[in-house]
Each structure stands twice: as structure tokens, then as C-alpha cells.
């Protein structure tokens, strides 16, 4: 290993940047500021937990392919798990968003945390959308037939064909979950790096700080 101050390898430099941004005590702390004391704070981790259940139930559905749940009651049950965990995912995510908005959680150079969160929300909507298209039932037919108009009107439909099951399925099980996962990981690491945003100034403080 090179001596401190003389790191020249890419690996070494990545290590230094990573450890500087997220030393172990910051990455996995076992204390938190006293102001983190409200049930509203659990909705972030609930969203994350729901995402894990979505991925796990989706993985089981992937084991036997997209047609399985139409012909198997076990498959149908896992489809139900996948649907309800998705509903919970959005439920918790939006409550988490409301909470973070009313706490102005972007303060103190945390704008990127808000931005990654908002983009995660939008990409999650796209992920769920491609999921509905992948069901191979009446809903998929109808949703595809309707959604094509909005997408065609914006030019996107020429490249993103919602009636092409193969394409939509691959966006749903490969591209979009990967993107959502990367965004969530980035989002959580940003929270760990900057810490949970402190309260807005108290009444006796006078003068606002951004």
C-alpha cells in the first residue's frame, strides 16, 4: 500500500473519497440527533422495506415467467404480493414526501437529497406503469392502448412502444428497477452523508437561516 498522501492508484483514490464522505460511523451510526423523534420519520424506511418486498415478490414471479400467475394459484398469490407491496411502496413514499416537504428537508445543502427522492418517485411511476403493461391481461391491453396516445403525442412513443410486450417487460424487470435501486441507494447515502435535517429555527431565534 502507498503511504498516506501519496495515493496514486484509482482504487486508492476512490477509497479515500468514499471514506472521507462516509466514514463508518457516519454510514452506520448508532446515535441520532434528539430531534429525530416523530413517527413521520419511519416512512422513509417503510418505503425502502416495501421496495424490498416488491423486488422479492417480483423475483419469484420471474422464476416461472410472465404467464405463470394466470395458471397457478401460487403464482397468483405472488402476483398479489407484488401488487400490494407496490401499493404500499407508493403509499409510504408519498407520506414520506409530504413529511419531507413540510420539514423543508432540502435545507443545508440537501437539495440533492430532495432531487434524488423526487426523481425516484417519477421513475417509480414509470416502473409501475411498465409493470401494469406486463400483466398480459385486459388491463395491459387497455392501458397500452390509452397510454400510447400521450407518449406518441410527445414523440416518445416512436421509441418506447407500450404495445410491444417484450420491450415493456424488459424495461420493467431490468432497466427501471435498476435505475430505481441506484436512485434509492444514492438517496440514502446522501442522507447518511449530510445527516437528518435539523428543525427550522425556533420562535425565539429570530431571523431565518436557509
Amino acid at each position: 500500500m502507498s503511504t498516506p498522501g501519496e495515493v496514486r492508484t484509482w482504487t486508492g483514490r476512490v477509497r479515500e473519497v468514499a471514506v472521507a464522505a462516509l466514514p463508518p460511523e457516519r454510514l452506520l451510526p448508532d446515535t441520532q440527533p434528539v430531534y429525530v423523534a416523530s413517527w413521520i420519520y419511519v416512512f422513509g424506511v417503510l418505503t425502502l422495506a416495501a421496495f424490498v418486498v416488491v423486488l422479492a415478490s417480483g423475483a419469484v414471479l420471474a422464476l416461472a415467467g410472465p404467464g405463470w400467475w394466470h395458471v397457478s394459484s401460487t403464482g397468483h398469490f405472488f402476483n398479489s404480493l407484488h401488487l400490494w407491496s407496490t401499493e404500499l411502496f407508493f403509499f409510504f413514499m408519498v407520506v414520506h414526501l409530504w413529511g419531507k416537504f413540510f420539514m423543508a428537508a432540502w435545507r443545508g445543502r440537501r437539495a440533492l437529497t430532495w432531487i434524488t427522492g423526487a426523481i425516484s418517485f417519477l421513475v417509480s411511476i414509470a416502473t409501475a406503469f411498465t409493470g401494469y403493461l406486463s400483466q398480459q391481461n385486459f388491463a395491459s391491453q387497455w392501458i397500452g392502448g390509452q397510454a400510447k396516445d400521450g407518449l406518441n403525442a410527445s414523440g416518445v412513443g416512436a421509441f418506447f412502444n407500450v404495445l410491444n410486450f417484450g420491450q415493456m417487460f424488459m424495461w420493467h424487470i431490468v432497466l427501471l428497477p435498476l435505475l430505481v435501486a441506484l436512485l434509492i441507494v444514492g438517496h440514502v447515502l446522501l442522507v447518511r452523508r449530510s445527516g437528518v435535517v435539523p428543525p427550522l429555527p425556533a420562535r425565539l431565534a429570530g431571523g431565518d437561516k436557509r
Partner: protein
């Protein structure tokens, strides 16, 4: 479409549900506002949970590490 009414049915396959949600859809309709009972329940639940999350006291007194 002219002619006799079409007899059609959406064939739902629902296996083993305790509560069958595949029946005739129930909606609340007022002017141009139209929402399913199911979606309304979800939205109301979100608002209620949000309010409770903020209002309910958070347990104090954590064991020191």
C-alpha cells in the same frame, strides 16, 4: 354503436380472496369528479396516517447504547 346491447363480461380470475374485489365497480360521482371507492379509501388512509404520524407522541426514553 347501434343494434342490440352487447352482452359482455370481464372475466376476472380471483383465487382464494377473502374479500372479492372483482365485482361491479363502486364509484363516487359528482359533476366531473369521479373517484373509485377503493382509491378514495387509499387516499383517505394516507392523509389519516400522515396526520397520526405527526400528532401521535413518539416514545421517549431510549436505552443508551
Amino acid at each position: 354503436m347501434t343494434g342490440p346491447s352487447i352482452l359482455f363480461q370481464l372475466g376476472h380470475t380471483v383465487l382464494g380472496a377473502v374479500v372479492d374485489l372483482s365485482g361491479r365497480p363502486r364509484y363516487i360521482h359528482s359533476g366531473w369528479f369521479l373517484i373509485s371507492v377503493a382509491n378514495l379509501a387509499v387516499i383517505v388512509a394516507m392523509i389519516v396516517l400522515f396526520a397520526l404520524a405527526i400528532a401521535l407522541p413518539f416514545p421517549r426514553g431510549r436505552r443508551r447504547p
